[in-house]
């Protein structure tokens, strides 16, 4: 039992190390990833300027852009990772090794988190300075709590999606691609979600990013505290508690199905 735990923790650490090393091996990636999102965010800020809305909307855009860096990471470096492993032939090695798949996914998640945090901090800092975002952070610990709960919920969702990539090729690839902009739109990445029509607000409540974004904005820009954002905290905890075991079940199911259908090592799908 203890041996298993230690071994799987070492697996998670090893996968984290590869991810951090791999993600930062080219300095130009780091520079591009840190500063190029600012161009798109700037376009949104200029749109709000054209409309004559207050500076807090620039803050919404910057925080949205910062959190979207994590969403992109979850989609492409977490969910789609098994697709890459399959294409490069390392998936077989994972599957035959006496280790938990969840430990690999945990390592990927932690490594992805480290890499993305580097980029997200740059986006947040540069964006806040350029657009002079009005910060009203009265309860930093509440903001941090919501941030970490959002990350936990998002990466749990990523683990769930990862199971799809065990079996499918381009279908799963296109599904991940399909989730990029629609989730940005529906989760209110660049505007408060309360302005969306009711039906869309209901749909938005199915995405953990919606609660995370709204909670962080309220605590960091509107100056609210735990007394106002506790429903966000509860929602994010519930998401994680549901998604994580579901990811484990889905992973086992897809792996067994993949073995039966002989698709685990199938390339060029």
């Amino acid at each position: 039992m203890l041996d298993d735990l230690v071994r799987n923790l070492r697996v998670a650490y090893a996968r984290l190390w590869v991810r951090v090393k791999g993600g930062n091996r080219e300095p130009e990636w780091l520079i591009f990833d840190m500063f190029l999102p600012i161009f798109t965010l700037s376009a949104y800020v200029y749109l709000y300027k054209m409309l004559g809305v207050g500076a807090e909307f620039a803050g919404f855009v910057v925080i949205g852009g910062t959190m979207l860096a994590f969403w992109t990471n979850v989609l492409w470096n977490m969910s789609a990772q098994f697709y890459w492993e399959k294409e490069t032939g390392t998936l077989e090695a994972y599957l035959v090794a006496p280790i938990s798949r969840m430990a690999i996914l945990l390592g990927m998640a932690l490594g992805g988190f480290v890499n993305t945090t580097l980029r997200a901090v740059a986006i947040l800092t540069v964006g806040s300075l350029i657009f002079q975002v009005p910060i009203a952070l009265n309860e930093p610990f509440t903001a941090l709590l919501i941030f970490f709960l959002t990350i936990a919920a998002l990466y749990s969702l990523g683990m769930l999606f990862a199971s799809l990539f065990l079996l499918y090729g381009r279908e799963a690839w296109h599904t991940a691609s399909l989730l990029q902009e629609p989730v940005q739109f529906i989760s209110g990445s660049f505007y408060p979600v309360r302005y969306l029509p009711t039906l869309l607000q209901l749909l938005a409540s199915l995405v953990p990013l919606t609660f995370g974004l709204d909670g962080i904005r309220r605590t960091a820009i509107s100056g609210e505290g735990i007394a106002q954002v506790w429903p966000h905290v509860i929602a994010l905890i519930v998401f994680t508690l549901i998604l994580l075991p579901l990811a484990k079940l889905a992973l086992n199911f897809m792996e067994n199905l993949g073995k039966k259908e002989g698709r685990l090592t199938l390339r060029w799908q």
């Binding site: 591009f32 054209m50 207050g54 296109h174 529906i186 060029w268």
Partner: protein, 284 residues
């Protein structure tokens, strides 16, 4: 190279591109896929406008039409550029067929053109669906007034603009393909990098006059700016600029882009042959 060989290469490349893009799904799923992503992008920008207008309690239909047309046609640009940028990775590292195409009697340049034309077809389909559903949602469902007279569109002007624009963006795609032939390090993000710069400086969702003077200088050097101006002039008849001037500047910047693309792509092919990059498989 004989004209027949060129035409056959282009035709086969279009067909291959179509199959690669579509054979993973039935036509309905494919159409939905090609519509949902760009439509979501349009809805996001549209809702930002809607929310901002609600906050200040002023809604300008003209500005909204500016954004709607700009964002929809920008997606057309992005899809062409993106499809061409990813092509080298797909064929060289993923499917490992680039070397075979290079060895065949046809030319890689014409093959890429064929694949680009397939991208143009897909982007056109996507543009029509996005624009149609965008208007349906914003005007039909949300009741926002969008002052576009669909029957009053100047079709010859629009067709000319699209022709020049397509030539320009396919050329830009060749530049990105050339870069991706020379290096695999930026293949996944290159088109995103380029499109984010064009999105800010190209006058896509706001007027470039809002940019600082150095930003306006960049904007004035980009063909995207003149492409979108000309498209808006054809559809909205906006009097903010003169169509002839806009079209002339689009032609000029397109010519420069074509020149750059020929230079970059030739250099890339020369370097690829010299350094053995045609079949170099890298997992970035």
């Amino acid at each position: 190279m004989a004209v027949n060989t060129v035409l056959r290469t282009v035709k086969q490349a279009v067909w291959l591109g179509w199959k690669v893009d579509t054979n993973w799904a039935d036509p309905l799923v494919f159409a939905i896929y090609y519509m949902v992503r760009p439509l979501a992008g349009l809805l996001m920008a549209g809702f930002m406008f809607y929310v901002g207008s609600t906050v200040v309690d002023v809604f300008s239909g003209e500005h909204f039409a500016f954004l709607l047309i700009g964002n929809s046609f920008f997606i057309y640009i992005v899809q062409i550029v993106m499809s061409m940028s990813m092509l080298i990775h797909d064929d060289r590292a993923h499917y490992e067929v680039l070397k075979h195409i290079y060895l065949s009697p046809s030319s890689l340049t014409w093959y890429i053109l064929g694949r680009a034309l397939n991208g143009v077809v897909n982007a056109s389909l996507s543009l029509l669906l996005t624009l149609g559903f965008g208007v349906l949602i914003f005007q039909g469902i949300l009741g926002l007034p969008i002052p576009i007279n669909w029957l009053g569109i100047d079709l010859p002007m629009l067709a000319l603009t699209m022709l020049l624009g397509t030539l320009c963006f396919v050329s830009l795609g060749y530049v990105l393909s050339g870069i991706n032939i020379m290096t695999s390090r930026v293949q996944f993000m290159l088109s995103e990098y380029v499109s984010s710069i064009l999105y800010l400086f190209g006058g896509v969702i706001f007027t470039p006059e809002l940019l600082p003077s150095w930003g306006q200088t960049i904007s004035n050097a980009l063909p995207v700016t003149y492409f979108l101006k000309s498209v808006r002039f054809s559809i909205l008849h906006q009097t903010g600029g003169d169509f002839q001037t806009s079209l002339m500047l689009l032609s000029l910047t397109t010519l420069v882009t074509v020149g750059i693309s020929v230079g970059v792509f030739r250099f890339a092919m020369h370097k690829a042959r010299k350094d053995g990059l045609i079949d170099k498989k890298e997992e970035y």
